[in-house]
Chain length 303, copies 2
């Protein structure tokens, strides 16, 4: 049974050199599940406050996302406020209000517990581990994290990683987690923590996939207009994991295609604020951009 994601559903306020958006739909689980919904059935575990409008839940349902695990708790929805400079590579957080997320304890609906594939979006590693105790027999577990947990809960994170197959992580975070400036060495070190597949996200520079002793370098799509990188990492994760869940094939060939599919989805996401660009894509568009990536990376063998 499908792909399970646990993470945040939030309101974001974002300012970039190209415009701004206030109190728009955001959150790691929102971006992830919307992106993954183009490829597979997704079950969502998250919490929102009483201020969360029905229209956003209707949107998730429209994308065929199972929202039985989306709990409404007394209080307000998680809020994040941030801004980006011209290079759009790193967000500066201006304000974080955890609100209902502060006391969030994921409790999986019975129907979710048979999930084959689990994505633990960027939340407290204690909670990530708690989720795993509730899933009976997952075939594949992936995890995303961030500098905040690497600094504040390193031991818990390392403990969680021992139960994880795929780690999604930024390049600077991979260096921070391992203390190794070289990414090849950092990936090997992370292997020793548990994950056999390491996906290192490098923003506008693309992605490195380390798997079974080989490396795959996926380019990012050079876009002429990038408006808002918020959610690009989770949208990438959703495309990647959705593609894998659809095929249930964990071979290197599929992992590489999944890396490109994640990049395709992320390339759409950054073209507009919030989830606006990925709300209603046509699968033919997605395939067409996958082929664009193929052209982007193609070169002929030597004679």
């Amino acid at each position: 049974m499908g792909l399970l994601v646990v993470g945040s559903v939030a309101f974001d306020s974002v300012k970039t050199p190209f415009g701004e958006a206030e109190d728009v739909l955001g959150g790691s689980a929102t971006y992830f599940s919307t992106s993954a919904s183009y490829f597979t059935d997704v079950s969502l575990v998250a919490v929102v406050g009483e201020d969360f409008p029905k229209k956003h839940i209707d949107f998730l349902k429209l994308r065929n996302i199972d929202t039985r695990g989306l709990v409404t708790a007394p209080g307000k929805t998680f809020r994040w406020k941030g801004q980006y400079g011209f290079d759009l590579n790193e967000a500066q957080t201006l304000d974080t209000q955890l609100n209902v997320f502060e006391t969030f304890k994921p409790d999986l609906p019975e129907e979710y517990r048979g999930a084959d594939i689990v994505f633990l979006a960027n939340i407290d590693p204690d909670l990530q581990r708690e989720v795993l105790t509730q899933v009976k027999d997952p075939k594949l577990v992936a995890l995303d994290t961030m500098n905040f947990w690497i600094e504040g809960k390193r031991d818990s994170l390392i403990k969680t990683l021992s139960q994880v197959d795929i780690l999604f992580i930024n390049d600077s975070e991979a260096r921070q987690l391992t203390g190794m400036p070289n990414l090849v060495k950092a990936a090997r070190e992370i292997n020793s923590y548990g994950p056999r597949t390491i996906v290192i996200k490098r923003g506008e520079y693309g992605v490195l996939l380390f798997h079974g002793g080989s490396v795959f370098a996926a380019p990012a799509y050079p876009l002429e207009d990038v408006f808002d990188p918020t959610g690009a990492g989770d949208t990438f994760g959703g495309g990647f994991m959705g593609f894998i869940a659809n095929s249930m094939d964990f071979s290197e060939s599929t992992l590489r295609q999944a890396t490109v599919m994640g990049s395709v989805m992320a390339s759409y996401n950054v073209e507009d604020f919030s989830l606006n660009r990925i709300r209603d894509l046509d699968y033919k568009e997605i395939e067409a951009r996958f082929r664009e990536f193929k052209k982007l990376a193609h070169f002929d063998d030597l004679d």
Copy 2:
């Protein structure tokens, strides 16, 4: 007749977190011509001082580089001193002594003036233009530059670019030259200055090739041990231009292969100080790493 390069021959003193080297052979034309010499005949135009040892000239001759344009002038050879931090992405210049380079006026030997392909390494754009007046009928002209000339001699640089087919430039310099943070837009702007092909170098993130409305993203080779990035850009240029000069084919397929061949040569160069790693490569090694790049970038089409 072959590939002509004009640029610097220098002594470098380099410190990285992994070691240091003092007064070692360096300079843009040295890296370029050594790298290109694996693919084609190279003619070198540069100046050295009376302190320049015969063993270095013997090395260049051993690589079959035509050194009739390498002038020895009264005084000392150009010296550069720099250091790198852990990320190895940007050099910090500690000292520059132009010495004989200060009054360098390139005067091409008669035998050089029929060159088919010209590479104007990173020198004063006035001198780059002066060289072009001395070459009879070049089929292809490429140019490299840097922030120093973009800031100090922008008008002269733009004038030179109008006579150039291929521009090699760093990503930050492309943004600086055009005032455009987006590289797709920056490349199109540079097209309007003259060059029809723009090669944007991004260090450990690889290279973007803009040509005829299409983009090619070449990855950099993820190395476990990078010792010294000095000369990587010129070694890249040498592999690129040498490959083109060898085939005398300027099609997009060849330009893409040349981009990868440049990356292959640069990946060897950073593995040791000075030109140590690229002094004596076997062509079979070069082909093998080209195939590694092919694996690195490969992913299957969708079914």
